[in-house]
Symmetry: C2
Subunit: 349 residues, 2 copies
């Protein structure tokens, strides 16, 4: 264990835990006494069929998703029971920094998106008795999880909104994520995952931050100095106070565990590598929502999977913020996403 104050109720709460007991992982290890952290909004109805599930993105927690929950919004807690689960290994749930020595730090086992969705399914059905899910949505790694829900439990999920993410990483995305991992690992203080202080790898995390600055936003964002509208006075201030401030408090092993999970995400594991067959299992209505000008998950990459999905519509999000349009720094981005989700929820599915 290497306690990290960033992953706290003060910063990310309130959240609760569901105890999975000993949880067997797809790649062979077992996490003893595996805890899934989650937050909820609203109430389950008596038929337990008004649930919305909203997993989080890379480097995020359930807390970052709360901005899309509110009365009058698509994710309205007066109508829906909204469940925000935290990925295993990502910081709040059982993770490298808060685990017993056998699975702490560099010993943390490989966790897959499939593991997370099995864990979330147990949380949804065992703990809450949910009988139908009106919508699974998610951004980036959240989109990977949303697709996995739809492929793995096609009869449970009525609607899916993958936002800026794919069901299977492309070959280029694999390399893109490999480079992100290298930003952390190239810091000599990383020591193969056994760094001595939570913040020892700060140079590596700053490199990761700068890397995301390069690949996470659009070229037009920088050409038009869109960061000014977000309140920054110089590019360097944006790099430091936005990107570096985002990543430097985080746990490097949690980020690496998540990156590996991101890189391996692939619903075609269910169908011997046949992606078309896996996508064909989806019964939900899908609104596929890439960000225009996103360099990480392009509109074309998302469109490729859209074409393999039985009941799918393309709804690209017009924003200069690229992959980070979901942060809603520009109010119109948040409004566009919320309105599109409202429309999706109004569709019979």
């Amino acid at each position: 264990m290497l306690d990290n104050p960033f992953y706290s109720q003060e910063q990310h709460g309130p959240y609760q835990f569901y105890d999975l007991g000993d949880f067997d992982l797809e790649e062979g290890s077992t996490i003893p006494d595996c805890q899934v952290a989650y937050a909820t909004f609203g109430e389950l109805n008596t038929t337990k069929d008004n649930a919305i599930i909203f997993p989080h993105m890379f480097s995020g927690t359930s807390k970052h998703m709360e901005m899309y929950v509110g009365e009058g919004m698509a994710l309205d807690p007066t109508r829906y029971f909204i469940l925000l689960p935290n990925m295993i290994g990502a910081g709040l749930s059982t993770s490298p920094h808060n685990s017993p020595n056998s699975i702490a730090m560099a010993n943390f086992p490989n966790v897959t998106i499939g593991d997370d969705i099995r864990a979330q399914h147990r949380l949804a059905t065992e703990k809450f008795g949910i009988t139908s899910v009106q919508l699974v949505l998610g951004w980036s790694m959240g989109a990977q999880q949303a697709f996995e829900w739809a492929v793995r439990y096609p009869d449970l999920v009525k609607r899916v909104a993958p936002i800026g993410g794919t069901a299977k990483g492309t070959a280029h995305n694999h390399i893109l994520v490999e480079n992100a991992m290298r930003q952390i690992r190239s810091d000599s203080a990383w020591e193969n995952g056994n760094y001595k202080q939570p913040n020892a790898v700060s140079e590596g995390l700053k490199n990761l931050a700068r890397y995301f600055s390069m690949i996470g936003l659009s070229k037009e964002f920088y050409a038009q100095e869109t960061w000014r509208a977000a309140g920054f006075n110089s590019l360097e201030e944006f790099e430091t106070n936005f990107w570096e401030a985002w990543f430097t408090p985080m746990d490097p092993n949690a980020l690496l565990a998540s990156l590996r999970k991101w890189q391996q995400a692939d619903v075609s594991k269910h169908t011997d590598g046949d992606l078309a067959s896996a996508m064909g299992r989806i019964k939900a209505l899908v609104y596929n929502m890439p960000f225009e000008k996103d360099l990480m998950f392009t509109v074309d990459e998302c469109k490729f999977e859209h074409q393999l999905t039985p009941n799918s519509e393309m709804r690209p999000i017009p924003t200069l913020w690229g992959h980070f349009g979901m942060l809603g720094v520009a109010a119109e981005d948040k409004d566009f996403i919320d309105n599109t989700l409202k429309e999706l929820l109004s569709q019979v599915a």
Copy 2:
């Protein structure tokens, strides 16, 4: 000095040197006894107006440009005098690894694209007495140099072919290059530029290689496994035997000097930051040749400058190889470029 066997006549020759004497740099330092390495093909005619100048790209030398020179090709040495100059600081010319201690290694002064073009102009006019340049062409940093030639010496240059590069780096390109520099500097063996062996920074150079693999080729290149057509049997083999093999023999300080030069390239230094005014100085006919699907210098970024250029045509190069279409690994890419240059040379200018 830290002798590096990579930068040798055996690997990059034959080349000659032109001695500039003490060469004052735009940013204030002086390089004593500055040597510009160059190669030539063909003969100057009696009026000395049949010259073509072809500077090289980042991480390259004059040797890499020779594949575009040959009888029957656009750059035909039976018709033209073809001059291939080497950038200062890039390896063959006076550079961090081959300089006296006062400017060796981390002490090497900042050199700009403007410095290079002044040096190349002296080589062309003092050494050879060139009176007119039929074409300046270049790829990537070579395109930066070609634009600088056209803006700085508008009466000397008749035609310009910037291939996959811009006259002024965009804000996003600035960040993209900053990330490339960080790949080298994050290696603890770099020691602020005073590494102990030429190959000490191999991990940093491998990170640089992987970074270029991510940003230098197109997403479609990887989706379609185009590397197979280049003779590689797996993605990892391509990463190792193509990308890592490319960068690891090189000198880290030479690469960093070049990256800084790349990042600062800006013809609007001539016009108090007014890019339109700088581009307006160009009298040459320009064929602006971005690579389709290039993530480093996009077609849109090149088109923006094309629109500021008085006499310019857009000639995008159709290739899946992205920024590295110039290597001509696919024969049709090389043919397309050669044919487009032939057409440009046939235009009255």
